[in-house]
Symmetry: C2
Subunit: 380 residues, 2 copies
């Protein structure tokens, strides 16, 4: 199998982009990644997106992006795994390079969510869960996460405000990232005053949607010895419905995919310098830290309370703001994570730079832990 | 690159399946393919689908199918390229095996379209075209194909009834396929009496939607010397919008992908024994025959009129009924084509068997020629 390197990175700031269409956002990020890599012709294009069929009346994004990028003729397809779409697209891009057939593969995640009334956005997001056995009961996607968080609090004796360190860290870090949606630090008081979205999830436990696009240009590592390398790549699944899990408080697909990714890279959690995790809700950040070996069961929140997730802590997370502050344009999020991790390993993360970062972990989650893509990136 | 073989084939009859849900259809086909291959554990699952987010309120089909198939934990993702989704998923399955990382890959196409009012189905299908520049004008997907057919008739001097041989052949062949939606041969009179769907496309120029699922189990060819091999695999794109093409009557992405696939297989059109083409509309069948080297420009219809597309003709097409008579469950169609081609090469196509078939071509189209996946299969 050919080793893969990330030669180019492109991002669009996460915003409400009233003046840019779905295709324009995607092409902006794609072009930036190609320019960063100094590549003008690609062999294949993988596009990730979750909601465009409903919120933009547009499907068939592979050819849409290829066409408007001026890469006429190129092989192109869209991948979807709910909010884990981008991590899954990255995985396919890697396999395409690994097959030996491709020399330059572009992976683009794009989502444009802020044009439609919010009830339509909410309805589009619920399709990530099980339509017949979950959504049919009237529960929303945030409602499912609230059930998990409530159980976690009950089991391990936490209060709502114990989760604040995740939001405080994310917003402090987002303030240093020009591409973040929210660029203001928040205080414990702000967190405490956050209204309830779905009890016990407060406004500051939940990530905001947004419009955005991020892209990576992948090449065989042998062609780019100076570029950041992908040394681990794995996708695993759990049951789709949360109620089917033996253990509500364990992200089995995170554990399985991270175990594979660590093994491929020949590393363990102790070697990881930063972790771009999927903090769509603060409960998911806690569970990811536990499943990936950074905290014992029920101790993810305590790790955050101890300051170990801060930029100077044992395992910095959401270093550019995470889903919470950078924003969560769902089908693009996994590529923002990977783009940010790449910048960190290049030493190009600006004010958000984690000093001396050599190994980064990125984890993208679809549904309530149903599809999880985990990647290990390393400085060459 | 590892050579790939098709070890298992599974199909569900194309019907209005009132008693089977989306996930049940997918699992039925998947299980049949695994049983056919005598494989109980897979390494990865690729699911293709176009409309489930709208017509079944369900996205995230990778994990949905993995979960209900009992393949807990397995890597899984959904791919979408409109009606070319299944051919594109096959391509990714092949690259996954070719990467050397996977030993058993399941590719499943599924679509359940007949539960919703037909105007919703029509709206879901239009998202294959360009929302901003085509659909915004009020044109439907069949309307776009009607424009192409009208131009073809004008350019080459054909009448509507000249296209009848495509429908007659498809329905005669579908009558021999137990999985086909329509199993009655039709006559020229039936064709002539077909009502107009979108002038000049008649009812018998257009394929019917349906509920269905088809699956293939892929393995490295070295592990299955007796199995049908994939010797060519390519995906190419054109402009998304039909009006952006330099030449309205030439399927550039068909030409490009078939050229690549022929080159990989070391064959030419003269070596092909049967061609499962994308006869969503009879005009697309004519254009595919021309782009793939079986007829000169404007001669695809004449080839059909000369009987050369019949089972005993020069290049049999739609040998199990094609999209026209087997039915067109959009995101599953490309896998039905490949499943049927595999059965033909195994000599297991029953009454529809093409005698002595050794090499088959399968071509799946997304949009009006925007994404085209072409595969060459060969008897070992």
């Amino acid at each position: 199998m050919h080793q893969v390197a990330i030669l180019g990175v492109g991002q669009v700031p996460v915003r409400e982009h009233w003046d840019r269409s779905l295709r324009e956002l995607a092409v902006d990020a794609a072009r930036a990644a190609m320019e960063d890599a100094n590549v003008t012709q690609i062999d294949a294009l993988y596009v990730s997106n979750m909601t465009s069929d409903r919120l933009n009346q547009q499907r068939h994004l592979g050819v849409l992006v290829a066409d408007f990028l001026g890469q006429w003729g190129v092989e192109a397809v869209k991948l979807e795994a709910a909010c884990g779409s981008a991590g899954s697209a990255m995985r396919q891009g890697i396999l395409a390079v690994a097959s030996g057939e491709m020399e330059a593969v572009l992976v683009v995640g794009v989502e444009k969510m802020t044009e439609m009334p919010s009830e339509q956005t909410t309805a589009a997001l619920t399709t990530a869960a099980d339509a017949d056995y979950e959504i049919e009961q009237g529960v929303t996607f945030v409602g499912l996460n609230a059930l998990v968080m409530r159980r976690y609090m009950h089991e391990y004796g936490y209060e709502r405000r114990d989760f604040a360190p995740f939001a405080l860290n994310a917003h402090a870090n987002g303030a240093k990232n020009p591409n973040a949606l929210f660029r203001q630090p928040i205080t414990q008081k702000t967190f405490d005053e956050g209204r309830t979205v779905a009890d016990p999830i407060s406004l500051f436990d939940a990530s905001p949607i947004g419009d955005g696009a991020a892209a990576l240009l992948l090449v065989p590592a042998a062609k780019a010895p100076q570029a950041v390398r992908v040394t681990g790549s794995a996708v695993a699944t759990d049951t789709l419905a949360v109620h089917d899990r033996e253990d509500l408080l364990w992200l089995k697909a995170a554990e399985q995919s991270v175990r594979q990714a660590y093994a491929q890279a020949g590393i363990g959690p102790e070697d990881v310098d930063l972790f771009e995790l999927h903090d769509a809700f603060s409960i998911m950040a806690a569970l990811s830290l536990e499943a990936c070996g950074f905290a014992a069961r029920g101790q993810g929140v305590r790790l955050a309370q101890a300051g170990e997730i801060l930029p100077n802590g044992r395992i910095p997370i959401a270093t550019m703001g995470g889903l919470k502050a950078r924003g969560h344009p769902v089908g693009a999020t996994g590529l923002y994570q990977l783009a940010e991790a790449t910048l960190q390993l290049r030493g190009a993360a600006g004010a958000a730079q984690i000093e001396g970062a050599r190994i980064a972990l990125a984890q993208n989650i679809g549904g309530s832990g149903a599809t999880i893509a985990t990647h290990v990136l390393q400085r060459p």
